[in-house]
Symmetry: C2
Subunit: 287 residues, 2 copies
């Protein structure tokens, strides 16, 4: 996984050269290359390989998904949104480059992701690419990431039901993870059955990811997390520990991990190993 | 043209239904259906018809381009950008729905545009669609719209050369207009030669559009324009009248209109008529 992440970092680095306008591209590079865990691109590549596709086939899509994720982080951190000062242990994009540049860097990523796929995916029939565009674009906007962030912000300071909480996490986190595996399988040449199987896998790890994130927010310090800890509590934001209590949230994470293992049982064990491993890493991460 | 605009308005209305989360979709509809002139979608459809394609083929792309344009307007108006209160005679998006919703509505449009094309364009070979995705995505990000807005904001309060001024307008305005005609010709089944011809046409009307916009800003009132007049002057922003004087700017507009007429001379006159007419409308608009 560390090797995959290194390759992905290299490709991301090359994708955004330092061209004119310099400060805009610096701002994009600052957040894109801030050392995330690259869970999403690794997931995309692993899903491509799961159905026999080569890593290189999935790489442009994997990088594009990390760009989309980065765009959502930059915009989520804005003063008018979550107003966050720290991200991945560094000052947030608008703290370094100013608010207008942060808005524009996010906007640029949202379109560059599609450009990167359209211009760098070779040796793939165009109908597969069109399916990928449909899948990926649908998880970003008002039926995906944006909807999740919108409901999240609207829910601040209000009593939030478990149903609303799940809506937020499905849209903010799970749908993009689902797109990672689905796009990986499509580009790798998988069939509709393969797609359905990885969709279910992704839904479980999506939930798992968020539950663990929420638990870390209340159990770790800012230094350990590399971002402002305890912030969800202060802002009265919906979290699993808040709704169900910290012990029940930990039980829920354990239950989800068991479900993930069951979902992968029907795949070739060797090829599914990276997807097992990823779920394990998500469940056991410390920041 | 009025008939085309009416059809486009109907399709845009249907494209964004009032679903959950309601306020986000209301915010999107507010700006999308605020009664713009629909120059871009009309240009896209006219270019499709120029090469013998049917209006219905180009409609999803035409609508998508209007969504991208709307996203850029919403974000340009934000307090951290141009901080504008009026747009098309109505309060700007963030004035009505708040800043965070305005950021998210813009983000949603940037991805929904691609979703709308991928899911609604029928009876077209997927390789044409991939070309359209490449063309369209490249004019939005850090080589297009976003770059133009970035340099525009950075140049405020500074002395701006004609070269910088043209960079801003090419990126903020001309490139998207160029994408309108190029995508229209691609989806309509035009060849590379057709594409090159309409590219040049689009570059001239792109410049024309901005020169006229700048002239209107200093010669018309806010009520006449439906947006805050004289704002470019107050904010010390780069404009053609500022750099070359109002009379020379008017001469430049006249020269550009002549160039447009020359570019279209090589096309079938009847089929090129809507493109002539559009250029004429751009040159002679009063708001």
């Amino acid at each position: 996984m560390a090797m995959k992440a290194k390759k992905i970092n290299k490709m991301l680095d090359e994708a955004i050269p330092l061209r004119h306008p310099l400060k805009l591209n610096e701002a994009m590079r600052y957040s894109l290359l801030a050392g995330g865990k690259r869970v999403r691109p690794i997931l995309c590549i692993a899903s491509c390989e799961l159905v026999g596709g080569d890593e290189s086939l999935a790489m442009p899509i994997a990088c594009a998904i990390e760009m989309i994720h980065t765009a959502s982080l930059i915009h989520d951190d804005l003063p008018c949104m979550d107003n966050d000062d720290l991200r991945r242990g560094k000052p947030t994009n608008h703290k370094v480059f100013g608010e207008s540049t942060a808005v524009l860097a996010g906007d640029a990523f949202l379109s560059f992701a599609f450009e990167h796929i359209a211009c760098n995916t070779n040796n793939v029939s165009p109908d597969r690419l069109v399916r990928i565009f449909a899948e990926l674009s649908s998880v970003i906007g008002s039926k995906g990431l944006v909807a999740g962030q919108f409901v999240d912000i609207e829910s601040e300071g209000k009593a939030v039901s478990l149903k609303e909480l799940e809506y937020i996490h499905v849209h903010k986190t799970a749908k993009l993870l689902e797109a990672c595996v689905v796009c990986g399988v499509i580009i790798g040449g998988g069939n509709d059955n393969d797609i359905e199987k990885v969709r279910i896998y992704a839904r479980f790890i999506g939930l798992l990811f968020q539950v663990v994130d929420d638990i870390l927010d209340v159990t770790k310090s800012s230094v350990e997390l590399g971002k402002t800890a305890g912030k969800d509590l202060v802002s009265n934001k919906a979290t699993y520990p808040k709704v169900m209590g910290i012990d029940e949230a930990k039980n829920f994470a354990y239950h989800l991990m068991n479900q993930v293992v069951q979902q992968l049982a029907c795949f070739d064990t060797a090829k599914a190993a990276p997807l097992y491993h990823l779920a394990y890493c998500i469940a056991n991460r410390q920041n």
